[in-house]
């Protein structure tokens, strides 16, 4: 079942080589991502009902947490492929990309999907390999335009991420060293499913060291604060659908790596050590992102810094711990993926229309592009955590968990940073959305495809804000059980 899910994006990518016209490529890409979505949902449903799946002599596996990542990847990937038709079609029509580049874009897009799905379903600390592969593929997507700025962003992205992730490899080696001491030399000694069973027997000193290296390494990829410097460059220079994938999904994939190690390391090092590290890095992300959001001049960079902020919130949620903290963090992962993609799609439309990324050169979006403007407003309200939308719920749960677990100072700081970010973000966004359009900007939307993609996301943002379906709630509770590992029965019986 898993191998089909992985095979479809590769197949789509390969078939793209054979296409001859723009329509063919788009139809193929849309079919590919639809099939991926269906298979992904099917996998989620199967895991939800029947528990863990192991395939290919235990190399591939899916538990509820993997399924959750697969869910996010396939939904955002599907929506981004719809959006790509509008966005890339517009670029193609204006001669910025030729057919060869367009084909290359779709091939890389599906390869990128493949690598991100692979991150979720690897039953191995070799997760590192999958995460490194995402860096490689997305670098190629970044240099698609060959502008000076995008080459620069790609170089920064490539060097910082590959070197950063090397630290994660060192952490992985240390974990393996710890595992070999307990389980002996075997191929199983790197598998999650076997590691978690013996997690409490690890040597705490080795695990502490390993966790620090993992946090720095995958933290670089997840954009946690002192290592985030590549993120605003890469996310603002990529084409908008790719920015959405990078911000909404790829950061979550790296976070997934950290959380997996968190659940293993916590068993031997004790909860204080890992939690405090995560809370410190999370608060640092919020604190560093804040001034950059308030004083930002480029709206795509502003969104990228907002991603740094939200990754910080997820780290804080995991750090606060307890069922509520982890639940809030996981819900936040999902909500952030949806809302941030919506914002990047909206920003992409504005960019296509105005041809600039500067906040001061854009105004009156709601008048020149009524639908995009309205959705940007909804997305902006949602991403800053205003009440009727989904992110409010998850931030509230995380905050609640913080006070519940007695992290008073951290919770107060968290609240303070969020309020300042709300003010700064909304001040900048309202300058773009309201007012009169700049002279020379015609009224009308860029493309129907882009609006369709945004409507799907708005539905998620709205619905999860007022009502969490029982199945979805149950699903996240199962993921919480995987992360906290309260219930060992789950592994033994292959069921929850």
């Amino acid at each position: 079942m898993i191998e089909y899910l992985l095979f479809i994006p590769i197949l789509t990518g390969v078939l793209c080589f054979l296409t001859r016209s723009k329509t063919q490529i788009e139809a193929l890409s849309l079919t590919g991502s639809t099939v991926t979505l269906i298979l992904g949902l099917n996998l989620v449903k199967y895991v939800y009902q029947n528990g863990i799946i192991m395939e290919w002599t235990n190399t591939l596996f899916a538990d509820m947490f993997s399924a959750f990542i697969v869910l996010i990847v396939s939904i955002v990937g599907f929506v981004a492929s719809i959006y790509s038709i509008g966005y890339m079609g517009h670029e193609f029509k204006h001669g910025i990309l030729d057919l060869k580049k367009l084909r290359l874009y779709y091939i890389l897009f599906h390869m990128f999907m493949f690598t991100m799905l692979l991150v979720g379903v690897t039953n191995n600390l070799g997760l590192w390999i999958a995460i490194e592969m995402t860096t490689l593929v997305s670098t190629l997507l970044l240099i698609l335009y060959l502008r000076k700025s995008s080459v620069e962003a790609a170089w920064k992205y490539m060097t910082i991420c590959t070197v950063g992730i090397t630290f994660a490899l060192l952490g992985t080696i240390l974990t393996y060293y710890g595992a070999v001491k307990i389980m002996g030399e075997s191929g199983d000694a790197l598998n999650w499913t076997s590691l978690i069973k013996v997690a409490d027997q690890f040597d705490p000193t080795i695990m502490k060291l390993a966790f620090i290296f993992i946090l720095i390494g995958y933290g670089t990829k997840a954009g946690l604060a002192p290592m985030h410097t590549w993120l605003p460059d890469a996310h603002s220079e990529a084409p908008s659908p790719v920015s959405a994938l990078l911000s909404g999904v790829l950061l979550n994939c790296a976070m997934y790596g950290i959380i997996r190690f968190y659940s293993i390391a916590t068993k031997s090092t004790g909860i204080e050590f890992t939690s405090n590290l995560l809370i410190v890095f999370g608060l640092l992300s919020l604190g560093i992102a804040m001034p950059f959001i308030i004083l930002q001049e480029d709206y795509k960079r502003m969104l990228a810094y907002s991603s740094v902020e939200h990754m910080g919130i997820i780290a804080i949620g995991i750090g606060f711990g307890g069922t509520f903290g982890v639940f809030g963090a996981l819900l936040h992962m999902f909500n952030h993926a949806m809302t941030k993609s919506l914002m990047f799609f909206g920003a992409g439309n504005v960019h296509l229309k105005h041809g600039t990324k500067e906040i001061n050169k854009v105004s009156g979006v709601v008048k020149s592009m009524p639908v995009t403007g309205a959705m940007l407003l909804i997305g902006g309200l949602a991403i800053t955590g205003s009440p009727p939308f989904s992110i409010f719920i998850s931030e509230f749960i995380i905050l609640w968990a913080g006070f519940l677990q007695g992290h008073i100072i951290a919770s107060v700081l968290f609240l303070l940073f969020i309020i300042m970010i709300f003010a700064g973000f909304f001040y900048n966004l309202s300058k773009m959305i309201f007012g009169n359009p700049k002279p020379g900007i015609t009224t009308g939307e860029v493309s129907r495809w882009t609006l369709g993609a945004m409507v799907i996301l708005v539905v998620f943002v709205f619905v999860l804000g007022v009502y969490i379906p029982p199945t979805f709630y149950d699903m996240i509770m199962k993921v919480v059980a995987v992360v906290r590992w309260d219930d060992k029965k789950w592994l033994i019986f292959g069921q929850f």
Binding site: L136, I143, A153, W155, M158, I173, Y176, G187, Q296
Partner: protein, 75 residues
């Protein structure tokens, strides 16, 4: 790696780091499982290839391979 300005040197720094890690892995644990070793090898190979492409691109767009040129994106 930090003190070097040429991207080529930075790439070599990356390779040396990977070498060191592999040696560390072998001395600590008699080597990782085969599939992981192969995966890492593949990733490093492709990574260096892509870095090569990037250096070529930097050379073409900026007319030199000095990372001092790469400081337009700030803030």
């Amino acid at each position: 790696m930090i003190s070097r300005k040429k991207p080529l040197m930075q790439m070599l720094g990356f390779l040396i780091m990977e070498n060191g890690l592999f040696l560390g892995a072998i001395s600590l644990t008699y080597g990782m499982p085969l599939i992981v070793e192969l995966g890492i090898f593949f990733d490093v190979l492709i990574g260096v290839l892509i870095m090569g492409i990037l250096i070529f691109r930097i050379n073409k767009t900026f007319d030199s391979i000095d990372t001092d040129m790469l400081k337009n994106l700030i803030g």
